[in-house]
Structure formats: C-alpha cells, structure tokens
C-alpha cells in the first residue's frame, strides 16, 4: 500500500520555476507540497563547477547528450534548487522583442513588458540581483577591452549574488550565489510548504476532480493526492513526465537551446585565478541571434577544452593562469524532441541544426576570435578538433565557413520551449498562464513554456513567468 500525501497544490521540481511557484502559492495560504527527485544539499556542499558538483548535483552525471551531429552535452541539475545551484548566476529580463514574438506567433496573452515588470522586480529583489560592486575578473575585463576596441556593444550583466562589504586583494568582491536554496526554497518552507526530496514522479493520473501523482521514494511507492499540479521539472523532464502520463499534444516536440561553441584564449598576462568566478561581461553587438561571454575557466575545464587540440604546445599546469575560455552562442531553433524510451528512466533527446545554424555559429566564432585578438590574446584554440592554433587575425580564414558537424564541440546549459505556452493551441502545449490544454488544474511552470529560445540567460524569464502564472492561478481558484 503506497504512502499517501494530501495537499492542495503539488509542485513537481524545485528549480527556479518550481521554487517560485511553491513559495508564491504557500505565501497565499495554499497547502503546498514540493517534490524534488534529487537531494537537498546545502548551498556550499561542494565547490562550484567542480567534479564533486558533477557527481552530486548533475542529472545523469551530466552525460545525457542530445543526439544529433554533433552530439551536444546537456547540463541539467538534479537537486533541490535545480539549475540555479549549478549555473553562472547571470540575470537578464526577457528582451521586449522576444515577448513581442511570443505574443504574435504564439498568441500569448498579457505578455507585454508592463505585465511582467512587477514580477521581474519581485524576483530581482528576492535574489539581490546586482552588478558586481568590486573589480570584475580579469578575463571579463579582457572581453570588455576587446569589444571597446572594435566599437562593439558590450554590457556587464548583473548576477543574483549577495556581495560582502569586504574586498579581497585587487578589489575583488566575494559574493554568495543567491540560488533557490538560499532564497525561495527556505522562503517556501517558512510559508508552510512541505519539501520532499528524493522523490521521483513517475506518472500523473486524474481521479475525478483531483490529480494523483504516482511517485517513488527510495524504492517505495508514494502517492500525492492534490487539487492542482504544477510540473516544474525542467525542459526535458517536464515533457517526459507528461508523456509518461499520456499527455502528449505538443509536448516535447519543440525543445530549444542556445548552441554554444567555445574558444580557449591565451594571453601574455595572468587573467585567471583560484576562484571559479565567471565573468559577467557579454557582447551584444550581434543580438538577438548571437551573444558572447566568459565561460568557466578552471584548470579542469581548460584541460577539457584543450582535448580538441592534443598536439598543442601548451603547458597547462604552468600556463593556465594566462588562459581563459570564452563562448559564442546562437539563439537556437526549436527542433529538439524529447521522447521516453522503454526500460529507461532517461528520456532520449534528439535535435537538429541546419546548415544555416552552423554558418551562423561559424560567423559568431570568427567574431569572438576577432574580439579576443583585439583584447590582446596571443593564441586561440577554438572547439574544433584538428583546427590549427590561431595566432592572429590572418588565421581567422582557417575557421570553416560552416562549422564541421563531425569535428565541432558544442555544448549548452540553457534548455527551454518543450511545452510552449500560448492560445495558438495548434502548436502550443499550455495556455497563456501555463495550464495544459484540455487538462484543468494541470500546469507547466518552468523553462518548458518559454515559446522560443530567448537569446539571453533564461532564469530571469523563467522566474518572472512562474510568479505571474502562480499568482494568476491563486486568483482563479
């Protein structure tokens, strides 16, 4: 006999979408239970961007790539707090032109910028979103220098970090990431939400006017009986759960991400240090299609990036402080598909990039390399196996006009759009406020409902929409 939990609202998933949903509804007086498949770890349980973090917080160890050519490693979290516990903390509001696209093509109602401002502001306040009050990491400053020399638009992106008043040497400000476990999760608990980690939701079933979440906890069956369900498992696991529950219309057919190519840059001066802080400088000259920025550049990640260049004469342990990784990403297409596989817990993800996508990535990579040379880089190692080292602008012609599918290393940490919202029900999965078409009191409230790739770090959009939708639900009920 399965253990049973009863509540008014079950929130499945505790990442940015789930945590905001749970806190918002609990604060409104709803009896909320938030389920999370992964463990509840303290924010400082492991060093950020370390292999210990991969072991403890990454779903499938970070090894469930999207099948396509090339394969793209997808990074998903599986722990309380979700992606907010492992990402860079960079914050953007949804660009107005993206909102306009979603309104016009997907018929999303009440989605003008004024409709979202209060939600952006509430989340920004809760997360202490701010610019770095101290000195940016040197690698970030290089990006700024390069962009300014080329006359390109560049911004410092705010992050959801709380900074200490004290400064380290060189005016570097130490910050604490304001992830969900630092902010919305404890706030939800304080408002009365019950958080249940280590629970995997297997299926959703309608029982009369209520829903039942069939789940498993440490091998034992668990049932959650609830009036409403918010599915917030992320852009891959949300459609996977809905499809296991035989809810399939426009579910898992339009996964999008930001295909990203990286470059290792070597400078004469030291730009990298022991801190795993990521630079917040981004180049927006080619937005919305292309964005460039700084990537994790710890020694292990540098070594990983250099595996595309095994013949390179680089003494990693001796030179890594002069090296940093930068990325160029494009706003990707909605061609990804998420499907469950018999006898497997993990869904299979397929996607395709067009020849035009690969040409746009090539142009983005060339421009990134130009910027880095302008910033003073002496050697560049793009993520293309077999490409010789680039030592000056004259070498940029060595980058293929269309990135080679079989030799390019792409990655992404941004996943969305697998259950797009909107009133255009021919190709949307949920309505303007996240209710699954044809299923009363069943909602999606995470990155899945973003209609297309937003072209910016998505967490700000996810959280604002989650708050908007949760408040809309609370008024309707």
């Amino acid at each position: 006999m399965a253990e049973t939990i009863q509540c008014q609202v079950a929130v499945i998933g505790s990442g940015p979408g789930g945590a905001v949903t749970a806190m918002t509804l609990a604060a409104k007086g709803f009896d909320v239970v938030m389920l999370e498949e992964g463990p509840y770890l303290k924010p400082d349980a492991c060093a950020p961007f370390s292999i210990e973090e991969m072991r403890r917080k990454y779903r499938y160890g970070g090894l469930n790539p999207a099948l396509g050519t090339p394969k793209v490693p997808l990074v998903e979290a599986c722990c309380v707090g979700g992606g907010s516990e492992i990402n860079s903390g960079l914050y953007h509001r949804t660009p107005p032109d993206v909102l306009e696209l979603w309104r016009e093509r997907f018929a999303v109602q009440h989605l003008k910028e004024p409709d979202l401002i209060s939600h952006f502001e509430a989340c920004e306040s809760a997360l202490s979103v701010q610019l770095n009050p101290g000195r940016q990491p040197a690698a970030s400053i290089k990006m700024k220098i390069g962009a300014e020399r080329l006359g390109w638009k560049t911004i410092e992106v705010p992050r959801w970090f709380k900074y200490s008043q004290m400064r380290a040497p060189n005016n570097v400000a130490r910050g604490i990431r304001q992830s969900m476990t630092e902010t919305f999760v404890p706030a939800a608990e304080a408002a009365g939400c019950r958080i249940v980690p280590g629970v995997r939701a297997e299926k959703l079933e309608r029982t009369g006017t209520h829903w039942q979440v069939r789940a498993v906890r440490q091998g034992d069956a668990l049932a959650i009986e609830t009036e409403a369900v918010f599915v917030c498992c992320g852009a891959i696991e949300t459609p996977a759960l809905l499809r296991r529950s035989r809810i399939k219309k426009n579910i898992g057919n339009s996964l999008a991400f930001h295909p990203t190519v990286k470059v290792v840059a070597v400078f004469d001066d030291e730009i990298n240090g022991e801190s795993a802080d990521i630079g917040a400088q981004q180049v927006k000259e080619f937005s919305p299609r292309v964005s460039m920025g700084c990537s994790i550049s710890s020694l292990p990640y540098l070594a990983l990036a250099m595996t595309d260049h095994p013949g390179a004469r680089v003494n990693l342990r001796g030179q890594w402080r002069q090296m940093s990784i930068y990325y160029a990403m494009i706003c990707g297409p909605t061609t990804g598909v998420v499907r469950n596989v018999p006898l497997s817990r993990a869904p299979l993800i397929r996607y395709s990039l067009s020849a035009q996508d690969l040409r746009d990535l090539s142009i983005a990579l060339v421009n990134l390399c130009r910027l880095l040379f302008a910033a003073g880089a002496t050697h560049l190692y793009p993520g293309i196996a077999g490409l010789p080292v680039l030592e000056g602008e004259g070498d940029l012609e060595k980058i293929p006009v269309e990135l080679p599918r079989n030799r390019t290393s792409l990655m992404t940490a941004h996943l969305f759009s697998s259950c797009p919202m909107g009133q255009a029900s021919d190709f949307t999965a949920v309505d303007s406020f996240g209710q699954v078409h044809g299923h009363r009191n069943l909602f999606v409230n995470d990155a899945s409902l973003l209609c297309t790739a937003p072209g910016v770090n998505p967490q700000g959009s996810i959280m604002a929409l989650a708050r908007r939708n949760a408040l809309h639900f609370s008024k309707d009920l």
């Binding site: 072991r55 160890g61 070594a303 003494n315």
Partner: protein, 135 residues
C-alpha cells in the same frame, strides 16, 4: 553456472580494459609527473566508472560494447588483448582510434579522454611543487 562465470569473465575483461584505457589516457595527459613515479590513476578510473554507471543505459551500453570491441581489436595482429599489451602499443592504438575516420572510434576516445582529463586536473595540485621546482 557457466553463464554466470562467463558473465564474470566478461565483466573482468571489460573492467580491465576500461581501467587500462583510463590509465593510459591519464598518463598521456599527466604532465605534472614526467618521471612517472606517481602513476596511480585509481581515482581517475573510479570517476569514469562512476559516470558510466550514471549515464542513461541507451548510451552506456553502446559505449561498453565499443569499449569491448576496442579491447579485442588487433587481437589477431598483436596476439594479445589491449590490457595485456606493452604501454607503447596501447598508446599507439589509443592514438589510432582518436584519429580514426570512423566517428564511433573517435567518439569513444573522446568520451574517455573528456572524463579522464576532468578527473586528472581536478586533483589537488600535489605535483605543483614539482612543477615550480622545474621552473
């Protein structure tokens, strides 16, 4: 009993292949100890095996199958399994598969290399003192 012992032998063979392959890739990338005195890579192998266990089964099984093929390839020419060959012959095979015109071969080596390198360079810089001494 026969199928059980065959299964155990197969796992033992696979474990030895993975362990030897990880150690070879690690030593090819480990410039912190050129003398090779500190050549234990058990922690690296352990990380790789742990990651393999976490992977979706529809990825891990083909990788293990490819690894098994890797281990027996050139058996007729070399007269021994991969893990029983001398180091320089093993490194040659790794390099040949890395450069192969077959994507499956390249992907296999890339998979192991990525994990090995991550684990190797995540080690505390105990060898850094030796590097500083080298100047």
């Amino acid at each position: 009993m026969t199928s059980v012992s065959s299964g155990r032998e197969a796992m033992s063979y696979l474990s030895k292949t993975i362990s030897t392959l990880c150690c070879d890739i690690a030593s090819m990338h480990d410039h912190s100890d050129p003398i090779g005195a500190d050549a234990s890579y058990d922690d690296v192998t352990e990380f790789v095996v742990e990651q393999l266990r976490k992977m979706p089964v529809f990825f891990s099984r083909p990788i293990l199958l490819a690894t098994a093929v890797f281990g027996v390839s050139r058996l007729l020419l070399e007269g021994s399994l991969f893990h029983n060959r001398p180091p320089h012959r093993r490194c040659l095979q790794v390099e040949n598969w890395r450069r192969s015109r077959f994507a499956t071969s390249r992907d296999l080596i890339k998979f192991y290399t990525s994990l090995v390198v991550l684990a190797l360079y995540s080690r505390p810089a105990t060898s850094a003192r030796r590097m500083e001494g080298d100047g």
